[in-house]
Symmetry: C2
Subunit: 589 residues, 2 copies
């Protein structure tokens, strides 16, 4: 976060505290940091009345009044005793003061509005606006909502009241963000996923384990088929691995030591707590074993293995939410096993795929070149010369492609630099999506090599390159990006045929059959509903097209093709089919 | 096994024992039963010399000599003491005698060749030929091999020598079986799978967990795509489920209580032996939850969910072998959720798919109607009237289809009758393959219903119907059935292009590109090998076709298409492509 806005947000947290204390003198303040998009304050109201959502407006009004008088922000270091006395009734601040004292750090009190009715002093480390009244626009912030939070996030501590605020530099920025939030709420993939019947959760199966309906599976398959088709053009082949492996695979890869807590352990016998197997948290270790199953000549390289398969990571149930946090993650994974000299061509090929893929959905991409931090050399493995060589290779590829990029120092993994792609969605949010990651560590650990022109064993390099990444997360982002309005090529149901009356049903059925015969996903609405109800259902299902057949259409053997945007035309069945097929094949948005 | 051949095989086990004792007087006999295809005898040779494979011929010769004198087989009941005395030096027989005595059963000694040099008496329960010399043809049996076996199969007991023999009614039958064995050995899918580079195993991943190469995955995908295409015609849709579920899913389904030992238990935290999740051993419980995720009207039925996905069953490592016994099993699974009145149409649709699928590979099918055993009513759940109604429905479908069928009394599952399909392969072996299984239990346990015309909740029925069954097992059977000679449509590599000299390589490359462009899996052999070596490689890879391009072909812009059977023709590239495509699409064997 930019320092300037961070200071504003932190200042506003103090301002909120003052407004609260004025109105609820029994309130005990705890902590109030700046966060992304704003700030919050955790407060113990257990000694009396507590504010509800309906009180936020009033508190906000008070904050604005107080703000006028906050023309300063000063601080002074005080002895522990003074601080403890100031907070003698507040066990939270007392705890904090004792901790700071134990560390031998200075204790500082910060004061704003000195000498006015708005004067407010609080234990703090600093980081505020120097002149809040001048720097902070009164219409650039807003109290947002109230939630519960445990003191220091620990369930065994008392529950506090957390008041959230939003804050930006200007009213415009605040408004934009609020509109975005509102739009995101309407588009929430959890709600739309249910409304469109794409996926569900079952208590018996468990949270974080989505079950995909036929419609949801169609969507997954269209997305995956797109990725696989793009990969096939670049010479990728598919492989297949089981979902478990002996623990030894992950001991060799190093995952067991580093991520053991996040791994699902699998064992055959009940009551036996010996870890025999691990449910795979990623696919690379298995794929190395396919590479290593036969001797490889330099002529066989690159080997490009793609596989869309599920991986499993043990998240806390409390963290599971819709499709963005799940236990079973479907990755459209791929690994390239190649020589150093082949890196550039392989990276460019993957970048091509990423561009085409995200472009097809209307996402705008920019890319972070995630490089190592030269000031922390201990954090990285491997030869310095190879690091700088690879990093300049990446930068030259980015330059050559005239890509929008920036450099993220210290964002590399500990074994190699990465290319991280960021997608902007239709409501202005940014999501980290695909990654192209070099890997010189895994080939070392699994001793992967090829026999080169000189007949020697040559160490190879790996590239990890998922395109959609996690299909679950991608679909969550996609649903919200499109508001559930999937383009024709993606829509699980592409066109619904509605017969005006029973007399037209047979013709309607023949229309459906013709469309299905050319490969379109068409259905006939056979429900006993009114015409109006049927059309409302089409809208609710957010279908790209529907077709109405009545007297005129039957007589003239035509169909009336109605588009989601409201336009319609009456054409021959052949024309309609060709039009839809062309749009489908072009992957028009 | 037929009683007659069982008695012959058992008699031959005695004959083997006599031949052994004559030559190895220190040998201690243990048990020698009749088995499928022959017999064996487990013998303790630890007191002296033991026969090796090279001694089997001689033992066999001796058996034939002795057989002439075995014109009788008599028995008498003896007191325990007499039996114990006879076997005073044999702890195995002593153990058996004491066990029989403890159960209060009679102890019998069987003697053949009475009064001749071939006379032989052994502790036995009986079941022999009355006149072996006359009944058993001397050329209808053969000693086969020697293996190790623990006394009573228990690893903590002494290791015995097991001598195997083959035995049939006639020499012809024996010869046929030996040819089959030899052929099966040549076609062993473990060997061919490795030679053709289809799959491999890794020590780090673990036994029973196959890793599928690009070639093997192509084969899997072709087979699965065939099943899915057949299913699509019948209105099936795909669904997607995670590979784990909370234990509660399997408690509800009943699998936890019945098969807990065979389930892989999954837990998140190390050292925590609480079973949080189960790695799915089958897909039906998950699929019920997709059915149950929304209210279903009778108009929505049948719901037909297909999914090709892996299930996991905890087999002992010792039992794992090639693809026939694996821990990770890929099922091309499907479940139909329908009303009673829809059963016939749904069963027939599945049967159509089974017929088309197995027919395409040249398997001959017959079907077992697996019915309940009316003499054991306690073994089955549900209403008697429904059982007999369903069984007569199945029988009438079989009659209507003029299928080759037989009835297996007592072969039903405990909750419904089944249709079990048996496929005969090209070397005369029979494999149980697809199953169509009704299920009224799971809908009961998961309370699955639809709202019927009267607005009431109506209990539905499920049908389980995998087609290939386990892809691993099916591919093992298929490799051996075809001897690795996959038809064009299945071959991972369909056609390899060989340039006679470097000068023809560019043209060869253009041929490959043209073939790939129309969707054929073509490659150019770019190795630095001689023409002869390249052609030998094609044969070894058992490719359906290869194409040679030399001076003539370049000059005339043709290709010489060489078929696996040795025939060849020189045609235009277009003609070649069309010919191959037609064969591919027709799924010609």
């Amino acid at each position: 976060m930019d320092k300037n806005i961070e200071h504003k947000r932190h200042t506003l947290a103090h301002l909120l505290a003052k407004a609260v204390i004025d109105q609820y003198p029994h309130a005990k303040l705890t902590l109030g940091p700046a966060i992304e998009h704003g700030f919050y304050y955790d407060i113990d109201f257990s000694g009396g009345a507590a504010p509800g959502d309906e009180d936020l407006k009033h508190l906000q009004k008070q904050m604005k009044k107080l703000l006028n008088q906050w023309t300063d922000f000063t601080h002074r270091e005080v002895p522990v005793t003074e601080a403890l006395e100031l907070y003698q009734d507040n066990p939270y601040k007392t705890e904090l003061i004792n901790e700071i004292a134990a560390k031998g750090e200075p204790i500082t009190l910060y004061t704003a509005g000195t000498g006015t009715k708005a004067e407010f002093t609080a234990l703090c480390r600093g980081g505020h606006s120097d002149n809040p009244a001048e720097e902070i626009a009164a219409d650039s912030f807003k109290l947002d909502n109230i939630a519960g939070a445990y003191w220091r996030g620990d369930e065994s501590n008392p529950m506090l009241t957390r008041i959230y605020g939003l804050a930006f530099d200007t009213k415009d920025e605040l408004d934009t963000y609020c509109t975005q939030l509102e739009e995101a709420k309407k588009r929430d993939h959890r709600k739309l996923g249910k409304d469109l019947g794409l996926f569900s959760f079952s208590e018996l199966v468990g949270p974080g384990l989505p079950l995909w309906s036929p419609a949801g599976t169609e969507l997954r398959q269209r997305i995956d088929a797109f990725v696989q088709a793009l990969r096939k053009e670049k010479g990728y082949t598919n492989v297949t691995i089981p979902h478990i492996a002996k623990k030894s695979l992950y001991e060799t890869s190093g995952h067991w030591n580093k991520y053991s807590e996040d791994l699902f352990k699998v064992r055959a016998k009940e009551g036996d707590d010996h870890d025999e197997y691990v449910l795979k948290p990623m696919n690379c270790p298995h794929h190395t074993q396919i590479y290593d199953a036969a001797p490889r000549s330099y002529r066989d390289l690159p080997q490009r293995y793609a596989e869309t398969t599920m991986v499993y990571r043990a998240e806390q149930s409390g963290e599971l939410s819709g499709l963005t946090r799940v236990l079973s993650i479907t990755q459209d994974d791929a690994h390239v096993f190649c020589r150093e000299a082949q890196l550039q061509a392989e990276i460019e090929a993957i970048w091509d795929i990423v561009d085409t893929f995200y472009g097809a959905f209307g996402f705008e991409l920019n890319v972070r070149l995630s490089f190592h931090d030269p000031e922390e050399p201990d954090k990285y493995l491997g030869d310095k010369a190879i690091w700088s060589e690879t990093e300049s290779l990446m930068r030259s590829i980015a330059e050559k492609r005239q890509a929008e990029y920036f450099i993220g120092i210290g964002e590399a993994s500990f074994y190699a630099p990465k290319l991280d792609f960021m997608a902007s969605d239709s409501i202005g949010r940014t999501h980290q999506v695909a990654t192209i990651q070099l890997d010189r560590l895994m080939p070392e650990r699994f001793d992967l090599s090829c026999v080169n022109e000189a007949g020697e064993h040559e160490r190879i390099v790996m590239i990890h390159a998922a395109i959609a990444g996690s299909l679950e997360r991608f679909i969550a982002v996609l649903i919200e990006h499109l508001g559930g309005h999937f383009p024709l090529w993606l829509a699980p149901e592409q066109v619904r045929v509605i017969a005006v009356a029973d007399a037209h049903a047979a013709y309607g059925q023949s229309v459906v059959e013709k469309l299905q015969a050319v490969g379109l996903r068409a259905t006939l609405d056979e429900a006993n509903d009114s015409m109006g109800k049927k059309i409302r259902n089409v809208k609710q299902a957010k279908l790209p097209y529907f077709i109405v057949v009545g007297d005129k259409e039957v007589a003239e053997q035509t169909v009336t093709l109605e588009k989601r945007n409201g336009s319609s035309e009456t054409v021959s069945l052949n024309e309609a089919a060709n039009k839809l097929l062309a749009e489908n094949d072009a992957k028009t948005l």
